[in-house]
């Protein structure tokens, strides 16, 4: 089959003819062909320099010895080293002193907030003021004491968590487990509403006061003022985790509560935990 020249373009045709139509046989431009071959050529040094070809139980590692795992581990180690250099001496100090160090607070509050938001904000809220079921961390009401060491312990080991050193606290299910009957639960509820100056039945509240002394004050303290640092909150300070209205109180009394806070020992470094403790405690001394 011989090709001939198309008179209009001056280029050869494929030689085929379909109903009087002929097809041009224009080659790929030379510049493009060179570029394509060059890009193949680039592969060769890349194969030699970087991990490329697999074989049965291994692969060619390349002369640069690059590994994405080594790279990320080096980057993480660099970051950790830089942080230790910048913060190590500071964070080793006494937490109590650090909490009241206003210069430190203004310099690092913003930085530490990133760590808090990644790990704590989902439950305790971005502004550290808690959410229904998850305690407010900024109101200076503490279940286990607000001393920096105790707060650090809670962050490390959690509450009702699986670790051995975790804090343990459980509000029993007085209703479900039949420790109090329904009228008794109503009476205790009225007593708690009375303590909080909410609308209540005074007769019921008087009965509730006795029931409270027998059943509840061991953990919640006499008069429900809390402060025993057993994980049982004060019930007169207007800081409610699960709600202080009649329905929420009854729900708590009937079904109990056993809030879980994960321990962070395995997820965060001791330094990071100290950063979070400081960030949380700084919310409690905004005036300082």
């Amino acid at each position: 089959m011989k090709s001939d020249i198309d008179p209009h373009s001056g280029r050869p045709t494929t030689g085929h003819e379909w109903d009087g139509l002929k097809e041009l046989d224009t080659p790929v431009p030379t510049a493009f062909r060179i570029w394509l071959l060059a890009s193949f050529g680039v592969c060769v040094p890349l194969w030699l320099l970087y991990p490329a070809w697999p074989y049965v139980s291994d692969y060619t590692r390349g002369f640069l010895g690059y590994s994405s795992r080594d790279a990320v581990e080096a980057a993480v180690a660099d970051r950790a080293r830089a942080r230790t250099e910048a913060l190590g001496p500071i964070l080793q100090g006494d937490l109590e002193t650090l909490v009241h160090d206003t210069a430190l607070k203004s310099a690092y509050q913003q930085k530490f907030s990133v760590l808090y938001r990644d790990n704590c904000a989902a439950c305790h809220g971005r502004d550290r003021t808690g959410q229904p079921g998850f305690p407010n961390l900024a109101d200076d009401h503490w279940l286990w004491s607000g001393s920096p060491e105790e707060v650090e312990w809670t962050v490390l080991h959690g509450i009702n968590h699986t670790s051995d050193d975790t804090r343990y606290a459980e509000m029993p299910a007085f209703g479900r487990d039949e420790m109090l009957d329904r009228t008794e639960i109503n009476a205790v509820t009225d007593y708690l509403l009375h303590l909080n100056a909410a609308p209540h039945d005074a007769t019921e509240a008087a009965i509730g006061a006795e029931l409270f002394a027998e059943n509840c004050s061991a953990c919640h303290n006499d008069g429900a003022v809390g402060g025993l640092e057993t994980g049982a909150p004060s019930l007169v300070d207007e800081a409610w985790i699960y709600g202080g209205d009649r329905a929420s109180l009854q729900q708590t009394l009937i079904h109990g509560r056993q809030g879980v806070m994960p321990g962070w020992q395995e997820r965060l470094s001791p330094e990071e935990i100290r950063m979070i403790v400081l960030y949380v405690l700084w919310a409690n001394n905004d005036d300082g």
Binding site: P54, S68, V76, A122
Partner: protein, 239 residues
């Protein structure tokens, strides 16, 4: 210069063979590594097949399309490792059919979410995400807590997984329904049975806070709380 090409494309048999040759290179490049997968997936301690309850939760995760917004692969990038923890290993997906690596993130990566939040948080968050996370675009899944878990299909599901290589034993398949129901009931006195079949990292709790029945919420939260907790990572070994 064009004459070789012209010769080639004008011989149908020769051209067909040339096409086969070129196309088979693509095939070999994709298929050949599968023959060496035993060698390329590193050995990691602690991996086990999912318990029936976790597997049921995983099926719900796939059914609801969670993978469309959540990845389960922490990449070898500092930003990923900083936020989500140690990068994922191939072995951590060895019993996944199909794997849930995902290819984009609208929500966070979930490869190591197990133990990061409490069960109560997961339940409240799945019911109504914006109650807990301001500005979240995640849809709510309140029907999970209201839907009893269908355990009748679990033995068949585990059998199917065994056929594609997950080493479920006869006992694990035979007891799948009981195992699923009792993993969500800490008062069942069933701990020893589950530990015997699935090891001591199995978590036995009433995940959804409703002690009266086993729901789809139990299964999904059991699955989420297990994610990333099984493998003993090389870095932990070294410590």
């Amino acid at each position: 210069m064009n004459t070789h090409h012209q010769k080639l494309e004008r011989h149908s048999v020769g051209f067909a063979i040339a096409i086969l040759l070129v196309a088979s290179i693509g095939g070999i490049v994709e298929i050949a590594p599968l023959f060496t997968i035993e060698n390329t997936v590193e050995q990691v301690d602690g991996m086990r097949p999912y318990t029936p309850l976790e597997q049921a939760g995983r099926d719900i995760y796939v059914r609801e399309g969670c993978y469309a917004c959540h990845s389960q692969m922490i990449r070898t990038l500092r930003s990923d490792v900083d936020r989500y923890g140690p990068y994922s290993l191939a072995a951590e997906s060895m019993y996944d059919h199909p794997h849930q690596w995902g290819s984009k993130r609208t929500g966070p990566d979930l490869a190591r979410v197990g133990g990061k939040y409490s069960d109560a948080w997961h339940v409240a968050h799945l019911n109504a995400p914006r109650d807990l996370v301001e500005g979240s675009v995640m849809p709510g899944y309140p029907f999970l807590a209201a839907t009893a878990l269908n355990t009748a299909t679990l033995p068949a599901a585990l059998t199917a997984l065994r056929r594609v290589g997950v080493p479920y034993s006869d006992a694990q398949i035979a007891q799948a329904q009981r195992d699923a129901i009792n993993q969500a009931d800490p008062d069942a006195g069933y701990e020893d049975d589950l530990i015997e079949r699935y090891g001591d990292k199995v978590q036995i709790r009433d995940f959804d806070g409703d002690p009266n029945r086993v729901t789809e919420m139990d299964a999904l939260v059991a699955y989420l709380q297990m994610l990333g907790t099984l493998a003993t990572l090389p870095r932990e070994d070294a410590q």
